[in-house]
């Protein structure tokens, strides 16, 4: 019996030729990451371990992302604690706001994560790095503390779901829509304790950024990780960034899967996840016309440069709807600077959108766009549970960036025809 990609990566990190789902193994980690929400607790627990130094100062990454720039005194204190720990431990990769951004765009951008490695991240969306076949998974602060001290953790080898995407997508349909459809299909518990392995010709056509979006939201099905094949697009992204040798893996033809899910993308429309579950997914046409109060374009899910470009293309020369406020946050400082150079920031500013530099902000109801009771938002982020972006009665609809930007202009959830009409208008104007 052959092995899945997850089984091969795990075996290579515990000195074994063969591991099987359900086994408990101790693995050597390649990287440990925490942010300004999870690091303070991790540092406190680290201090209780009776260890003076982190296991490897080059392999512990600390990123200010959630409540940055500090939104209040408590968050300033948490950043201060993290900063002092980073100095004391001489951490190589410590990022202040304005110099980094959201960790899940930042670490790939900086070549800090690579294929074939295992990453323990104290943030649920650590799964993102699976787009470049890094077996990256979200953990809590205590696991992070132990990992910072030892460079190891225990894992239960996960069974894998084979998710096969076939067909050719239509215009306006993105990786975001692929993953929303998958979550709609398998549910928010669909991959609990399991890995998702992505297959199919429809994925070859996706940009690496769309694959990041897909791996990112495997978290919403509770997957331990979401792993892509390494192809020429992966190498094109990783090649100039990663300065060390890495391995890539393919599953054996006779690998065993817990389940195979096939999705034909040929007829697919842009998707929307309605409140209050990321699995509450339908064609966007089914929700078109619902009036909204806020649009958020950004987050670790859809804050990449191509996402920002798409939004700008739609908002260029137009005004955010009078009833709506729009918030745009490129995920990292580098993306922000590139957007600035391309004139995209000007497009948003002139359209009446608020633009900020790389932070999680409104995605988790942190800052820069928290929702009041009863308000309704369209967001390119990843979750829409009660209270996720503010008050528990506020409603969040998750979409791709083009649909969110169209919603900002029209003041309502759009259809594909609405987006096409907007763009056509700009051609003829």
């Amino acid at each position: 019996m052959g092995h899945t990609i997850a089984e091969k990566i795990i075996a290579a990190h515990c000195g074994r030729d063969d591991v099987r789902p359900g086994e408990f193994v101790d693995v050597d980690l390649d990287l440990v990451m925490a942010n300004d929400v999870t690091a303070p607790l991790a540092i406190r627990e680290f201090r209780k371990l009776g260890v003076d130094r982190v296991w490897d100062r080059d392999k512990v990454v600390l990123v200010g992302s959630h409540f940055v720039p500090a939104k209040d005194i408590a968050s300033a204190q948490n950043m201060k604690d993290m900063r002092e720990f980073a100095r004391e431990q001489e951490i190589t990769h410590f990022f202040e706001p304005g110099k980094g951004g959201i960790e899940h765009a930042l670490l790939p951008q900086e070549g800090i994560v690579a294929p074939g490695e295992i990453v323990l991240g104290a943030d649920s969306h650590t799964n993102t790095y699976g787009a470049i076949q890094s077996l990256a998974s979200g953990f809590g602060s205590t696991d992070c503390a132990i990992a910072m001290a030892t460079g190891k953790t225990w894992l239960k080898v996960p069974p894998s779901i084979k998710a096969v995407f076939t067909g050719k997508r239509k215009a306006w349909v993105t990786g975001k829509d692929f993953i929303l459809r998958l979550i709609g299909e398998i549910g928010v518990e669909g991959a609990n304790y399991q890995a998702i392995e992505f297959h199919g010709e429809a994925l070859r056509d996706l940009t690496i950024y769309e694959r990041f979006t897909m791996a990112n939201m495997t978290t919403e099905a509770q997957a331990k990780c979401g792993l892509f094949f390494v192809d020429e697009k992966t190498l094109e992204f990783v090649g100039p960034r990663v300065k060390r040798a890495f391995s890539s893996y393919e599953p054996d033809p006779d690998a065993a899967y817990a389940r195979v899910v096939e999705i034909d993308v040929s007829g697919m429309e842009p998707q929307v996840a309605a409140p209050f579950l990321p699995s509450n997914v339908s064609d966007i046409a089914d929700k078109a016309g619902i009036e909204i109060d806020q649009v958020f374009i950004g987050s670790c899910t859809n804050g990449w440069l191509p996402d920002i470009r798409t939004a700008a293309q739609i908002m260029r020369g137009r005004q955010v709807h009078p009833r709506v406020r729009a918030v745009v946050i490129p995920a990292t400082q580098q993306i922000y600077v590139e957007a600035l150079k391309e004139g995209l920031i000007e497009v948003f500013a002139e359209a009446g959108a608020a633009v900020a530099a790389g932070t999680c902000g409104p995605c988790l109801g942190g800052s820069l766009g928290v929702l009041a009771p009863g308000e309704r938002a369209v967001s390119t982020s990843n979750r829409n549970f009660p209270g996720r972006m503010g008050h528990r009665s506020a409603e969040v609809y998750l979409t791709n960036p083009a649909m969110a930007a169209t919603a900002a202009i029209l003041g309502r959830i759009p259809s594909v025809e609405d987006a096409e009409a907007l763009l056509h208008e700009s051609v003829t104007a």
Partner: protein, 169 residues
């Protein structure tokens, strides 16, 4: 390790955003976090719950973020354990790591009412409802997880282990 506690019963998909909302994530103290536990789900919970009580929940308790503040808040408010039909992967692990037992036991959930008293035997993996007398079997914890819970969490457990590995330790 045995636990006996009165039940507070909730539904499916109780996510970390309602167990402890993001507006409290700047807190790190167990008791402070406990004051806001479940407030977006049941604002009266913190005034009703007594030390030693047990949360009983449906499918996928603790889904959402990796915030360890969630099980810490439950501990802080005095919960002795969480019994659920199922748990989200990260919550289950965080919960055991901070020393809060989390037991997957669908039949215990399906047959219990709020206010029932559950007796939990972690080593045997049994959950007994004292009202109905029914004994529900869950998958027992692996030994190392029992050892982690006995030690009071993963940090004290690892501290002892690292001290023992140290030369002359």
């Amino acid at each position: 390790m045995n636990i006996q506690g009165r039940v507070w019963k909730y539904g499916d998909d109780i996510d970390t955003d309602v167990i402890i909302p993001a507006r409290y994530l700047t807190l790190t103290d167990e008791n402070e976090l406990g004051k806001h536990c479940l407030e977006d789900l049941d604002p009266s919970f913190v005034s009703k719950v007594q030390p030693g009580d047990v949360i009983l929940a449906g499918n996928l308790f603790g889904c959402g973020s990796s915030r360890e503040h969630a099980p810490i808040a439950l501990k802080g408010v005095g919960c002795a354990a969480v019994v659920a039909r199922s748990f989200a992967r990260i919550f289950l692990r965080n919960s055991i790591n901070v020393g809060l037992p989390a037991i997957e036991c669908p039949s215990a959930y399906d047959t219990a009412q709020e206010g029932d008293v559950l007796e939990i035997d972690l080593a045997a993996g049994t959950v007994t409802n004292t009202r109905t007398g029914a004994v529900h079997q869950s998958a027992p914890y692996p030994q190392f997880m029992l050892d982690v819970l006995d030690a009071g969490g993963l940090v004290p457990f690892t501290r002892e282990k690292l001290a023992a590995e140290r030369p002359g330790g």
